[in-house]
């Protein structure tokens, strides 16, 4: 049975370097999946293939909510359903916080200005930054910017949210506020795929944890299993390196 997000034989090379070596993966609707693994293991590349920010080999197949991830019209349909949060926020610096959140619903969904503004304010309240709505992103802290980025992605009412190391660029004291927003989001039934180095978050929030290494999925399981009883040497080695200090 194909999952809500279905990945079949995903291959991707950068020149001679094989970044993804035939990954197959099914993710159910509403599931929260955390992808962990060493740098360069292909975690980010994997989730960037889901909305085709990265091209992948023609024999690979990905679909989201039954829509194949290809090019052209069907890609636009997928991207409208898939929200993404980046490591470096990527807010639009020339627009106010509220306008950042309003832009895509107005341009892609044809929502009116008034309705988009109302929705933006609701979302900004939900991520706890309603007072900053009229400021420009550059004046906000990293944690605040990332929460705006989450609100911006949510404004499209996506069925799937991709998080590409959302806390890696943050000062340590701001990691918590972003993870809190993500935790509350996990309880709303939106499907979440999170590439992260935050093992505490993965343990606490994920339905399944995926350990990747060298372009392959090494191990998949419930967080309790993976963290307490990893089956593979590579997983054990990685976990002992990140957890024991």
């Amino acid at each position: 049975m194909a999952g809500f997000v279905s990945i079949h034989n995903l291959r991707k090379s950068f020149g001679a370097f094989e970044a993804l070596r035939g990954i197959s993966l099914d993710i159910a609707e509403g599931e929260v999946v955390c992808i962990i693994g060493p740098s360069g293991s292909g975690k980010s590349t994997l989730i960037r293939c889901i909305n085709r920010l990265e091209d992948f080999a023609p024999e690979s197949q990905i679909s989201v909510a039954g829509i194949p991830v290809t090019t052209g019209r069907s890609l636009a349909a997928v991207r409208a359903e898939v929200g993404m949060v980046f490591q470096s926020f990527n807010l639009f610096p020339h627009l106010t916080v509220r306008r950042n959140v309003m832009l895509a619903p107005m341009r892609v969904r044809g929502v009116s200005t008034a309705e988009a503004a109302e929705r933006a304010d609701k979302l900004l309240t939900r991520v706890g930054i309603s007072e900053q709505a009229d400021k420009y992103p550059g004046t906000l802290s990293g944690g605040q910017q990332q929460r705006v980025a989450i609100a911006r992605a949510l404004a499209m009412e996506p069925k799937v949210m991709l998080f590409d190391e959302p806390t890696s660029a943050l000062d340590p004291e701001m990691v918590g506020e972003v993870l809190d927003v993500m935790k509350s989001l996990a309880h709303t039934g939106v499907t979440m795929i999170v590439v992260t180095h935050e093992m505490g978050f993965a343990r606490q929030v994920a339905d399944r944890v995926i350990f990747m290494d060298a372009g392959e999925v090494v191990e998949i399981g419930a967080p309790a299993e993976i963290f307490a009883n990893p089956q593979h040497d590579r997983t054990r080695h990685f976990l002992s390196a990140v957890l024991n200090h």
């Binding site: 909305n51 409208a80 639009f92």
Partner: protein, 223 residues
């Protein structure tokens, strides 16, 4: 005859002033038309050069390189004196306008390209991930940021275009310089040339100062 009588002859200047003003008006018309046409053509060339299919991209690139290499005076003389041999006979104004536009567009295209390429990749990715179409990405996200970056160099280029209009006097355009040389011949006194120089400077100095201010403001880079 002292130096003032020769170069700053008030009598001659007052007499030829209306002529110089006519010339300035032609210079301004020619300059503005060339700047606007060059901006439009240049933006189109830049977009083709960055996003076009391979063959058109190559054509845009060749165009840009050729017209940045050819001296404007040479191009102007070709357009005005050589093209009539193949039946293309343009007026002095149109010859000057097309030569200025062709060269200005090449420089403008490079300026726009640099501006667009200076926008971080994350801005394109965020736009794509949100599902924005190419057109909305450019209009709402990329170009508003790129324009801020390119305003100082574009203004600089515009100043150069206005200065280069003086070359049009070689194809008998009655621009400021041409009027001044004619007035000089009539009055048998070079004061009108000095007058023209002063008018050029008075006209362009504020623009030059404005560019410096813009460069100070945007140059630091607040983000």
């Amino acid at each position: 005859m002292d130096i003032f009588q020769t170069f700053f002859n008030i009598d001659v200047l007052v007499r030829t002033f209306p002529l110089l003003m006519q010339g300035l008006w032609v210079t301004v018309q020619l300059g503005l038309c060339a700047i606007i046409a060059g901006l439009a053509l240049g933006l189109g060339l830049a977009l083709v050069r960055i996003y076009g299919a391979r063959p058109v991209r190559l054509i845009a690139r060749i165009y840009i390189d050729v017209f940045r290499s050819i001296p404007l005076l040479v191009l102007l003389i070709i357009v005005y004196y050589a093209l009539p041999f193949v039946g293309i006979r343009l007026s002095a104004f149109l010859s000057a306008l097309s030569a200025l536009t062709m060269v200005s567009a090449a420089y403008t295209a490079e300026i726009f390209r640099a501006g667009i390429e200076a926008i971080p990749k994350g801005q394109f990715e965020a736009s794509g991930a949100l599902g924005l179409s190419y057109r909305h990405m450019m209009v709402d996200v990329i170009l508003p940021q790129a324009i801020k970056i390119v305003i100082p160099p574009l203004t600089n280029n515009s100043i150069n275009v206005i200065k280069d209009t003086a070359l049009a006097s070689v194809v008998a355009m009655p621009d400021l310089l041409k009027q001044a040389t004619q007035a000089q011949a009539l009055a048998a006194n070079p004061s009108p040339l000095i007058g023209a120089a002063i008018i050029y400077v008075a006209f362009l100095w504020p623009l030059v100062a404005w560019v410096s201010r813009l460069e100070r403001r945007f140059g630091g880079g607040t983000r």
